[in-house]
Symmetry: C2
Subunit: 145 residues, 2 copies
DNA sequence: AAAGTAAAAGAGTTTTTAATCTTTTATTTT
DNA sequence: AAAATAAAAGATTAAAAACTCTTTTACTTT
């Protein structure tokens, strides 16, 4: 819809990890893949990227896995999106014009600006731990079926 | 950004055609490609699709080309987007869950609904001829540089 | 009717995105 | 120290999207 498939998986995975981190435990790739219905090797690759950018943390070896530390508690979905899809959603032109600007706008420039701002605000307000409670209560889902 | 590249070209091309149709003339693929900065054979393919779906009209032979007839004057950008990208923008889940619904929502469901509705309303209100004047006046652009 | 013009149709290529597989490195437990 | 565990790294494959090329069909003008 708005994000690449890679990014959709990334968000769901991070929300899953954040949820389990709240319980103080690390989660392995296998569990994550099952927990969010994603191809295991694919989500592994994605998490590697997020881990290298320090948006999430990881530990090797027995009892290892992915988790979020105190410092990552205020990571937002905007950070995840930016890390995976770049800033195209936040700065790109809706009609694909590379030099679109308020000085030389595409016909949809102003109207899209409003929508884009709203989207950006939503993602920036969405910390990755904010959804923990409703996920725990079964009020929302990050997995098929 | 929101649309596929194909769809971006499609919108720009249709706005271009609508603008020239106002002057009562048909435009060939060559002129359109130059007018909106797009690869000529690619936009040709795209216009074929739109023409077959009768969102725009075409005429073969000398003095032929693409145009929009009276009946297509209230075609909207929503129609173009739907014809090219399908309904994913209007109905798909932001996190890629195929069974996401208000009964079983993803964590972003409600917030995305607002944004999506705004986007849909914008596109549905945007008839393809609505931008003619501002394009003619050079107040907005559908071409690079 | 012939020649020329322009889109339609269809097949093909390239690039990007999505997904997989194999090997290596780090860590922990016994 | 050895064995087991789990992520990191890197190479590879598959599928989809973007883009191109060639041939055909329809139409118009002369």
């Amino acid at each position: 819809m708005f994000f690449s498939k890679t990014c959709e998986y990334a968000i769901r995975a991070v929300l899953y990890i954040a949820q389990k981190s709240e319980e103080g435990r690390k989660v392995g790739i296998r569990e994550i893949a099952v927990g969010i219905d994603s191809p295991e090797p694919f989500i592994a690759k994605i998490l590697q990227v997020l881990s290298k950018k320090n948006l999430i943390q990881s530990a090797k070896g027995p009892n290892g896995g992915f988790y979020v530390d105190k410092g990552s508690r205020d990571t937002t979905l905007a950070d995840i999106v930016e890390a995976i899809d770049g800033d195209r959603l936040f700065v790109g032109c809706g009609l694909g014009l590379s030099n679109c600007s308020s000085a030389k706008p595409c016909p949809l420039h102003t109207e899209f600006q409003v929508i884009r701002d709203k989207l950006a605000a939503t993602l920036r307000a969405a910390t990755i731990i904010r959804f923990n409670d409703e996920l725990n209560l079964g009020l929302s889902y990050i997995k098929e079926r």
